[in-house]
């Protein structure tokens, strides 16, 4: 597998965008740090799945999205929902089951969505959103817009039937989707290589859908931005989907309850050194950006996160009459007429 050097055409983000990508990564990192703390305090029930170490993908793609574009992601979705501009407070509140949660407490950690920001859901059944993303893109195409859909999923998702069906349909119908496989090398606890017939679970399958393989460094926000820029402009121009495989790594376990002991120490260390935020910070500094700008971002991210978390913690839990609300479009939950 050779990767196609997308971004040989100039596609690098402008400086303001790059600083914004840094800012978003820092916000996401800080948000998730707080989520983990809340989890360890016993306030996030069930579990949650962090993208720590994978933030460059979310921000590099999102920087290419416009209002009206849609994002569909997985249970590992904090980064993607935040990157579209969703409220941190409402996200915290959802994670801890409060009435002010994004979903009023009904969805929980695995289903974060903010439709007003184009975040059309986090999907907890592996692969299910891949055909759904195709449908969102079909709607954009049918309505004659130049809207684009970004659809994120893991390496493990490439082995499920819905991936195959969704990719084929999107390719045949030339739908405006940017499929992004976040290859973090593991399913839950099993290395992807041990259950996949190809080395690059997404890129090595692109041609099965008539697409060019695109294999990129998912820990470099600039690289992600450039690949996404090209994919988005193809999609907006009516040239159909792109399948990007972004290589990355999660710093923590699969979910908050996973100590991730199954990973070789050397591998973990190697990837910790490739931290997308550290890399990006150094690059911006090396290029001459004033460190105070970045420090200011770092500090205010923590402040914003802290404020959002406090507000969420102060919010009430939902009232039980919510249970039978919003099954149907009329707001009710009745199955009798």
């Amino acid at each position: 597998m050779t990767s196609t050097p997308i971004g040989t055409t100039p596609g690098r983000a402008d400086q303001a965008t790059r600083v914004q990508m840094y800012e978003q990564m820092v916000h996401i990192r800080s948000f998730e740090k707080r989520v983990l703390a809340l989890f360890h305090q016993g306030l996030v029930p069930a579990t949650s799945h962090l993208s720590t170490g994978m933030e460059a993908i979310a921000v590099g793609v999102a920087a290419n999205l416009r209002p009206g574009d849609s994002t569909l992601c997985t249970y590992r979705g904090h980064a993607h929902v935040l990157a579209r501009g969703s409220s941190m407070e409402a996200m915290f509140a959802e994670l801890i089951g409060r009435a002010t949660g994004l979903l009023g407490g009904k969805g929980g950690s695995m289903h974060l969505a903010s439709a007003e920001h184009g975040a059309l859901g986090s999907y907890a059944i592996v692969g299910a959103h891949i055909p759904i993303a195709a449908g969102v893109a079909w709607s954009a195409q049918y309505r004659n817009t130049d809207q684009v859909v970004a659809c994120f999923f893991g390496d493990g998702a490439t082995n499920i039937g819905a991936f195959h069906e969704g990719l084929n349909l999107a390719a045949v119908w030339k739908l405006p989707v940017v499929f992004v496989c976040e290859n973090n090398r593991y399913m839950e606890y099993t290395p992807i290589g041990s259950v996949t017939a190809v080395a690059h679970p997404a890129a090595d399958r692109a041609r099965a859908y008539g697409l060019e393989p695109v294999l990129i460094d998912g820990n470099d926000a600039d690289v992600v931005f450039t690949a996404a820029a090209e994919a988005c402009s193809r999609a907006r121009a009516g040239d159909g989907p792109t399948l990007i495989e972004a290589e990355t790594y999660r710093h923590f376990g699969h979910s908050n309850s996973d100590p991730a002991k199954y990973r070789p120490e050397a591998e973990v260390e190697e990837w910790l050194e490739r931290d997308p935020i550290t890399i990006y910070r150094s690059r911006l500094l090396a290029e001459g950006l004033d460190e105070s700008v970045l420090t200011q971002i770092d500090v205010s991210a923590d402040d914003a996160v802290e404020q959002a978390a406090s507000a969420a913690l102060a919010a009430p839990v939902p009232t039980v009459d919510e249970i039978e609300k919003n099954v149907w479009a009329d707001g009710s939950g009745s199955w009798r007429s």
């Binding site: 859901g121 759904i132 195709a134 449908g135 969102v136 349909l169 099954v327």
Partner: protein
């Protein structure tokens, strides 16, 4: 009043809605130039063209998945799943995604989509192409469930399903596709959630759905000869369920039977029987008796299939035995 077959009525119901609302689109295998393998979409491709009537690959998850995504973003997709049995191949999309998304997102999105499928037996297609699966859908919160018994209802309930803002499973019955009957002229829309009394009788109530409605009606005529006057209720939609009409009919006769094409265990009649018991216990002279297929996969050979699905004879025999 025009005479239409049930299959033509399906096409007409969709055509009516596509004509008035450009957000209505149809997708599925062979639904375009081929007009569906049961010819339930005749004329649509010609009238509305390939961007509104789209052939898909054999990818049921993608068909329903695409419908979900499109419905979330302003379209009103009608997704064809050729045989109801194939719902199993996309059950996650139906039961976990379409049904739950609005609730999980606390109303952030609405999903006005319809899945139209060929349900039911009687055509010797065997165990994987003949199932009556309304009960699968009824068991899943978040799905509306429609199963018409006449061409007029196929038309009017399909139009209503398309206008409905929630996910609807529309079960066409393959054994009824060729049935011809009159359909109201002009715009025709029925309401979801309303059962219809097809025959008034004072002695017993037969609760039936889809292809079992004409059988219940035929049985009622035979029973009349035996001095038993039967009410026949056509349930039409299982969700929302018209418990008012059901309870009223059952309370009037005191004796009720369900006539179900599905296998016994957890057929739709189980829920209705349990509701009647809980809510009309005092009015019951006898328990609700369920007439169903045996709890086996449906066999292919004619003689076997015919004796598995409730027949007019079996309905009559059951009623007569219980009323003896």
């Amino acid at each position: 009043m025009a005479e239409l077959t049930y299959r033509q009525a399906i096409a007409a119901g969709i055509a009516q809605e596509m004509g008035r609302d450009p957000s209505v689109v149809l997708l599925g295998e062979d639904v375009g130039a081929a007009a569906g393998v049961f010819k339930t979409y005749s004329g649509l491709y010609k009238q509305f063209g390939p961007t509104r009537v789209r052939d898909t690959p054999i990818s049921e998850e993608a068909i329903v998945g695409a419908a979900i995504g499109a419905a979330m973003t302003g379209l009103r997709p009608v997704a064809d799943i050729m045989f109801a049995d194939f719902l199993a191949t996309c059950w996650d999309m139906v039961a976990n995604q379409a049904a739950k998304t609005r609730y999980m997102l606390d109303g952030q999105v609405t999903l006005p989509l319809v899945i139209v499928t060929g349900n039911g037996g009687g055509l010797r297609f065997g165990a994987q192409h003949s199932q009556s699966l309304e009960n699968w859908a009824m068991a899943v919160p978040g799905l509306k469930v429609v199963a018409p018994s006449t061409p007029a209802d196929a038309f009017g309930l399909l139009a209503a399903s398309i206008r409905d803002p929630d996910p609807v499973l529309f079960f066409g019955h393959k054994a009824l596709y060729a049935v011809k009957a009159s359909v109201p002229d002009g715009e025709h829309v029925e309401a979801l959630g309303r059962a219809v009394i097809r025959r008034e009788g004072k002695d017993v109530t037969l609760l039936a759905l889809a292809a079992m409605v004409p059988r219940a009606l035929a049985a009622a005529e035979v029973l009349a000869e035996h001095g038993i006057d039967a009410t026949v209720v056509d349930l039409r939609t299982l969700v929302p369920l018209d418990t008012a009409t059901i309870f009223e009919a059952v309370s009037r006769t005191g004796v009720a039977f369900t006539v179900e094409e599905n296998p016994r265990l957890l057929g739709w009649g189980a829920e209705i029987a349990s509701l009647i018991a809980e809510e009309c216990f005092e009015a019951l002279d006898a328990p609700v008796v369920r007439i169903t297929a045996p709890h086996v996969p449906l066999p292919a050979a004619g003689v076997l299939e015919d004796s598995a699905i409730p027949s007019v004879e079996r309905i009559c025999a059951t009623v007569l035995e219980r009323c003896a």
